[in-house]
């Protein structure tokens, strides 16, 4: 069989069509396309791809099953290690994980592992669920409490439930899913998919209590009296601001507030939903990560006419996923690179009206290996805008550490854990963004899995 060097891309909706709504942009493979792409995999004896996956999905085996048209079996195979494949297939930074390691990438294009994973999960979702995956409830074992219903908490809960533990998730918001629900917008991750994955975790016997802010309602110490172990997956919910003049003007939002209002509170359906959001004609989003891309693309869909990204380095240093940057550019987002806002000005009614920015240039590489942005003197310029979204990052949620003096944290707020995920308090584990700072869905899931294993070992 002649080895094909070029991967098969998914069909995408046209720019004109997609910027008018919140529906998904890529359309997924057809079964024929999936089989064709899967056949490119050379089934390595020593598959490097698996090493690139934080939850070690058995990639060659599931891809072989796809190539043979055995989609149900492929789905089973993936679910052995990854409870949320429809989500990971969509939002994993595959180009830096599984696909980066794929051997074919050295001589051509790597296998589209993420696209295949997404295809298999979507295919399985549309079929009645196979009997093998009904919760095989073992004799009820000890009770475990999970804080947060993001990917870290859901994964840890799912794994423990499958082992027969009685699991309760405490979630502070009135909706479940963490960033999957309130952060990542519908056009990139449909909420119907997130909800199905959450239903699956519930079908394993996991109880989810919403509107429960741990630290305030129950402290970690109180939970330890009722539960044999606790896993903290409370995420990186603390928004950073730049602390520049004018940042408190009306019309300046943190990305969290912006996305919260739109995704979680459904402000795009105002006034049927009562939460308001006000977006002007010219929106500036500050930052260069996934959060910034999402905020910019949401702005377009909310009716903004011109949307800028202000980023202090260049496109090459942007931490956002390459394909999302590509889609943002296609949709007409204007990239103002090497641009640092230093002050916002207001109009007569106190609403933000102008951004004063400084021109930057790239200097020597910094600790992260990226070239450091340096200010160019006397280079300030102004751009008229009427909405600003600050998307320069999030820090670990400080609430639980503040209420739990015995919980050791790094200076920047991350909870300190051992290799196994154990914190400084016996019986209390942590993982995901509360430990890593803003990271990825799959690393949060990997942490949840590892902690589940450690908790099971502890309780055995």
């Amino acid at each position: 069989m002649a080895e094909k060097k070029i991967r098969l891309h998914m069909a995408e909706r046209s720019v004109e069509e997609r910027v008018k709504d919140f529906n998904e942009v890529p359309q997924g493979y057809t079964p024929e396309q999936a089989i064709e792409e899967a056949k490119r995999c050379i089934q390595c004896k020593n598959p490097l791809c698996i090493k690139g996956c934080p939850v070690e999905v058995n990639i060659p085996v599931f891809i072989k099953l796809v190539a043979e048209g055995k989609f149900a079996e492929a789905a089973e195979k993936i679910k052995e290690t990854n409870a949320l494949p429809a989500i990971c297939g969509r939002v994993c930074p595959q180009e830096e994980q599984c696909e980066k390691e794929c051997i074919l990438g050295k001589r051509g294009e790597s296998i589209a592992i993420g696209n295949l994973e997404r295809f298999v999960a979507d295919w399985a979702r549309k079929k009645p669920s196979p009997a093998g995956h009904k919760a095989t409830l073992l004799s009820q074992r000890e009770r475990v409490a999970i804080v947060g219903s993001g990917p870290a908490g859901l994964t840890c809960a799912g794994d423990l439930a499958r082992m027969g533990y009685q699991v309760t998730i405490f979630e502070s918001l009135h909706v479940t899913g963490g960033v999957l629900t309130y952060g990542i917008p519908e056009f990139r991750l449909p909420k119907a998919i997130v909800n199905l994955e959450i239903e699956y975790v519930k079908s394993l016997g996991v109880e989810i209590k919403t509107d429960m802010l741990v630290g305030n309602v129950y402290t970690i110490q109180e939970l330890l009296k009722e539960y044999k172990a606790v896993f903290i997956g409370s995420g990186a919910g603390l928004p950073k601001f730049m602390n520049i003049p004018g940042e408190n003007l009306d019309g300046v939002y943190s990305a969290n507030e912006y996305l919260f209002r739109i995704n979680m509170m459904k402000a795009w359906q105002f006034p049927e939903y009562l939460t308001p959001i006000k977006i002007g004609k010219r929106v500036a989003v500050v930052g260069g990560g996934n959060v910034a891309m999402d905020s910019a693309r949401v702005s377009l869909r909310m009716g903004a006419e011109e949307v800028y990204i202000f980023y202090r380095r260049t496109q090459e240093e942007m931490p956002a996923r390459i394909e999302e940057i590509k889609r943002a550019i296609e949709e007409g987002i204007i990239f103002k690179i090497l641009t640092l806002p230093v002050k916002y000005h207001a109009n007569a009614s106190g609403w933000v009206s102008e951004a004063e920015c400084r021109q930057m240039e790239l200097g020597e590489p910094d600790a992260s290996g990226r070239r450091r942005p340096v200010e160019i003197p006397n280079s300030d310029f102004r751009i008229q805008i009427d909405t600003v979204v600050v998307a320069i990052g999030n820090l670990p949620n400080p609430l639980i550490p503040q209420n739990t003096p015995a919980l050791k944290t790094e200076k920047w707020g991350g909870v300190i854990i051992t290799e196994e995920g154990l914190t400084s308090i016996p019986g209390v584990y942590a993982g995901g963004d509360i430990v890593r700072g803003a990271a990825t869905v799959i690393s949060a899931m990997g942490d949840g899995k590892r902690a589940a294993k450690a908790i099971a070992a502890l309780l055995d």
Binding site: S172, N248, F260, M265, F270, P271, E272, L274
Partner: protein
């Protein structure tokens, strides 16, 4: 859960509801609040825990109908359920024996001071409570507060009850009488809190205010509630809502309360249509 087990009308616009919420009653402290989402499509709004009963497992909320979501909340009758209720939130009031404390409540803030008055008195403070409203019909909680305060002073803008004037006039007089005041706690409309701070500042009397910026998650995740205190940005939902009033930038607070005004009107019109012009 979250069932409204009792509902009373206090006046035309202000209602008291008692909600079954044992986990909140168990943990609640004076100065804390809850987030209420009356129905799935409503906003998340913050409301102070005006009282709690650990034994019965209930909390009491006093709310004033000002817009769409409070209107929706009012449409839920006794026996009905609130879709979502989260709390207790915020940093509790700092309750200690200061000596003499003047607690000031204005408008619906009168209800919000009740738990603090009770706790301050219980720990041994001499508590002088001052409450004020536009007219006598808007005065609430007078009986309850007179029971738990050492002294209760009443003002109305039009003189229909108590002294004609503002709560700040009463505050000025107490200071002028030469009485030593160790702490002032002021809860109410922003202009009232600002004036109280202006009155106490020259005398160096520590003054705590309870800020009410717009909130969204109320768990420290969005920054909508950011306020300027002592030149620093604070999130009122977790760092507050109580702050040292002499450090608060009130102008910033006022500006940040208005961005959605026109939309709030549209939302209210929408809700009124849905509820049949009720």
């Amino acid at each position: 859960m979250n069932r409204i087990i009792q509902k009373n009308k206090i006046n035309e616009n202000i209602f008291r509801i008692v909600i079954d919420a044992p986990h909140i009653a168990r943990a609640a402290k004076p100065g804390q609040f809850v987030v209420v989402v009356p129905t799935e499509k409503a906003e998340r709004i913050p409301l102070t825990i005006a009282d709690f009963d650990r034994e019965k497992g209930t909390i009491t909320i006093i709310f004033q109908i000002v817009g769409a979501t409070t209107k929706v909340l009012d449409s839920i009758p006794a026996g009905g359920e609130i879709a979502h209720l989260l709390g207790p939130l915020g940093t509790p009031s700092h309750i200690e024996n200061y000596g003499t404390v003047v607690v000031i409540g204005g408008g619906v803030g009168i209800a919000e001071i009740y738990p603090a008055v009770k706790a301050l008195k219980a720990i041994g403070n001499e508590v002088i409570t001052v409450i004020g409203a536009r007219n006598r019909d808007l005065l609430i909680f007078q009986n309850e507060l007179s029971v738990v305060s050492c002294q209760l002073l009443v003002t109305t803008d039009d003189g229909s009850a108590g002294r004609k004037g503002f709560v700040s006039d009463e505050l000025k007089d107490i200071i002028a009488s030469g009485k030593k005041i160790d702490l002032v706690l002021a809860v109410g409309p922003v202009p009232m809190m600002r004036v109280c701070c202006e009155v106490t500042k020259p005398h160096g009397i520590k003054t705590v205010v309870s800020l009410n910026p717009i909130m969204l998650d109320a768990t420290g995740m969005c920054g909508a509630c950011r306020v300027q205190v002592g030149g620093k940005t604070k999130f009122a939902c977790v760092d507050g809502p109580e702050f040292d009033g002499h450090q608060v930038d009130f102008a910033d607070l006022v500006a940040r309360l208005k961005p959605f005004k026109d939309m709030e009107k549209r939302a209210l019109d929408h809700v009124c249509r849905l509820l049949g012009g009720k």
